[in-house]
Symmetry: C2
Subunit: 172 residues, 2 copies
Amino acid sequence: MSGGERPGGAVARRRMTSAELSIWRSLVDTTTELRRLLGAQLSQDSNLSPADYQVLLALSEAEGRRMRSSVLAATIDWERSRLSHHLARMERRGLIRRDDCATDNRGAEVFLTDEGTDAFRGATLPHTRAIKRHFADALTSEQFDALDGILRSLRDHLHPEQVEAPKREGRR
Amino acid sequence: MSGGERPGGAVARRRMTSAELSIWRSLVDTTTELRRLLGAQLSQDSNLSPADYQVLLALSEAEGRRMRSSVLAATIDWERSRLSHHLARMERRGLIRRDDCATDNRGAEVFLTDEGTDAFRGATLPHTRAIKRHFADALTSEQFDALDGILRSLRDHLHPEQVEAPKREGRR
């Protein structure tokens, strides 16, 4: 898996410090708390749960405001069965519409309805304000730059295959 | 709530940038992915779910390896009803034991059993190694320092009442 690591060798010599471990725990706790706070605020300001909002956001950013459910599941990183149950509830509320395509395994085509678009737009301003108030206002621009770099390092480490070469004839 | 913010005034003038918003989304996505990866690894390496591990960790750090369930719920930041269901399952597996105290509203006293202690100890080394491999190994010590400061700023902003004064005669 992780190349160059000799079992019991490098690991045993370069142990993680307890400070690093407690930063990991603080990262998990703090992001969990922020997500819950922002989720509660979202439900209060709109009629949308964080899960609804995540689905509407993905659809609103998709070409033609539609996506195959398999692609939607991958985009928001949910299990397909969880998504399918959730979409059924959102469809009953008129936020999305599904057209079954029996021809392949990529699932129904999911559309954002006008009602869903309105609900998403109505929720976005207060939600963005809440993110600003509880998250962005806490940090300096230097801290934002550092956080950006940290997240990039974590992502590159998680997905080394997706690391962009420093120079590349870019198609997109 | 947030002092000094004039409704529609300061907010409208100092809008959050789209870069800041995308850093927020990346923070949520990256920590979610890391948690899921580490949770899957934990379940594979031990017989514990991340939720089990969280409960065992809190109890193992508590004085006398016991806690009132209300305090445990606050410590790990769970709803009491969710914790109660989860503790029932852990008790059936012998990992914890509960003694009901009918005298007040703070819930049962929850004990870590010897079996729970062994399970926790057995899981900790591989779990810590996985945190090191997937998280700590991705970051330089400068990035750890920066992340520590960022998380401190976020926590202080979320809980201004808990911000420690720069100098204080420390009791603990």
